[in-house]
């Protein structure tokens, strides 16, 4: 069950990844072989099996009191930002 170029273009768009025309055939081939490989799972009988999201049984999401514990370090954290203005992250215009 191989993937087509259209399949890969659609997946790349969902994943927000630009793939050049030159790269596309390589990705179509390698993704198809990966998908063929994992298709082996379809042959396993799993009707009465509970899916397992987590390796340890009985873990629960820990909650804490809704109190402010963090302090403002935005200048330190924004030192890595590509473009910042007035503490805001700058991106190309979104709203027309």
């Amino acid at each position: 069950m191989s993937l087509t170029r259209q399949d890969v273009e659609k997946i790349a768009r969902l994943a927000r990844l630009s793939i050049t025309d030159a790269e596309m055939p390589v990705y179509v081939t390698s993704l198809s072989s990966i998908v063929d490989f994992v298709d082996e799972l379809s042959r396993v009988q799993t009707d009465d099996v509970e899916p397992m999201a987590h390796p340890l049984e009985g873990q629960r999401q820990r909650l804490r009191a809704d109190l402010v514990t963090a302090t403002d370090h935005h200048e330190k954290y924004q030192a890595n930002a590509p473009r910042v203005q007035a503490g805001l992250y700058v991106v190309p215009r979104v709203i027309e």
């Binding site: 993937l3 399949d7 890969v8 997946i11 790349a12 969902l14 994943a15 927000r16 990844l17 630009s18 793939i19 050049t20 790269e23 390589v26 990705y27 390698s30 993704l31 072989s33 990966i34 998908v35 490989f37 994992v38 298709d39 082996e40 799972l41 379809s42 396993v44 799993t46 099996v49 509970e50 899916p51 397992m52 999201a53 987590h54 390796p55 340890l56 873990q59 999401q61 820990r62 804490r64 370090h73 330190k76 954290y77 924004q78 030192a79 890595n80 930002a81 590509p82 473009r83 992250y89 991106v91 190309p92 215009r93 979104v94």
Partner: protein, 484 residues
Amino acid sequence: MLHTLSMGELARRLAAREISSVELTRHFLARIERLNPSLNAVITLTADQALEAAREADRRLAGGERGRLLGIPLIHKDIFCTDGVRTSCGSRMLDNFISPYDATIVGKLKAAGAVMLGKSNMDEFAMGSSNETSYYGPVKNPWDTTKVPGGSSGGSAAASAARLAPFTTGTDTGGSIRQPAALTGVTGVKPTYGRVSRYGMIAFASSLDQAGVLARSAEDAAAVLEVMAGFDPKDSTSVDAPVPDYPAMLDAPLKGLKIGLLREFFDGLESRNAALIRDALKVYTSMGAETVEVSLPHLPLSVPTYYVVAPAECSSNLSRFDGVRFGYRCEQPKDLLDLYERSRGEGFGAEVKRRIMTGTYVLSAGYFDAYYLKAQKARRLITDDFRAAFEKVDLVVGPTTPTPAFAIGAKIDDPVTMYLNDIYTIGANLAGLPGISAPCGFVDGLPVGMQLIGPHFSEARLLSAAHHFQQATDWHLKSPDGYS
């Protein structure tokens, strides 16, 4: 020579003030300068900070403080956030990222007085089994520099094998500590899921990732793990259980230990590798352990299961790299979509993009049940098989990898062939179990590793079993020519 001594001996000499941490640090910095160019194991050197930390350790030692790691140098895999120091995760995407905070394990090791020499090379975003996907170029295996050291903690493994530091840190999601440890002849420990905090450890697959250690011996690794392990409120999957004094438990008697021989591990294993594992098992039986045949019938599903679950989780985790708040941003984006697509398309390498797309596909509408849900069910079958085996045996021993180190370039073009390198290690990640790889011999001059896997939170027993083996053999003391 200082780099051939055990950590216990180094700690003794530091405590007796026979050597200083500054001397020790200078010794390893000089080794890195001389030997790293042929290996490409270390990608960021933090010499000034290291000497400052060594001076601080010397002050603490002079004041009478003692600790197993106080004044001992280390190298961190470049997946751990280190405050004020570049943390690249082996990727162009984070080449310009100076971390504004320390990962929890970085802080713990710092508090214990360990001295960070630098950051080690790794497969990009921890995705790989050969350290060939790094933006910073491949790492070479010190045993044969035409061969891979394994991955994704390839830099840490090569650095440990070449004795560039007494210990290094790594992460293991599908085998990324154990497999490179096996290929480079060092001892690698992947703890139980939840044993060591993931806070500040750049996420690949959140239900599989674990931080651990690569060192010369189980004894050295035990001292490091004791500091790294423990509950962290900042990691919601961290387990609140006390940390045993692993070094104190190394000498627990081996007699009567029931070792499981996994049928599925030996099927199709190359004969010289298999012979070394069988020899290792004879060492165990001569020390009073018993071997019992066990079977994990669903184990052959582990590689396809992993290559659904891990990419799915990675596609989610790597969505944070969007060119907006940190990391690589493409030049002159025409609109927001272009910003996202080209920052990610240009910032990520091919293997990372393959895995993100595989993950996106298996989670997408119409395919979720067939792939992701199915894989989660297969995961339970594999985990249940291990649980049943551990009712009969205390731990399982087998190979870590199907072959010794392969040539750089040999497998990089075929992802599925590369993925099959993880065939023995992946099961432990899916089930959240602790695993150790320890050296057990050589094939054609290349190291071979033996793997021990135990039930959840059995690190003490695994370390002790590896330690007993290392008292009866000397594979772990061998050093590659040119790096001795």
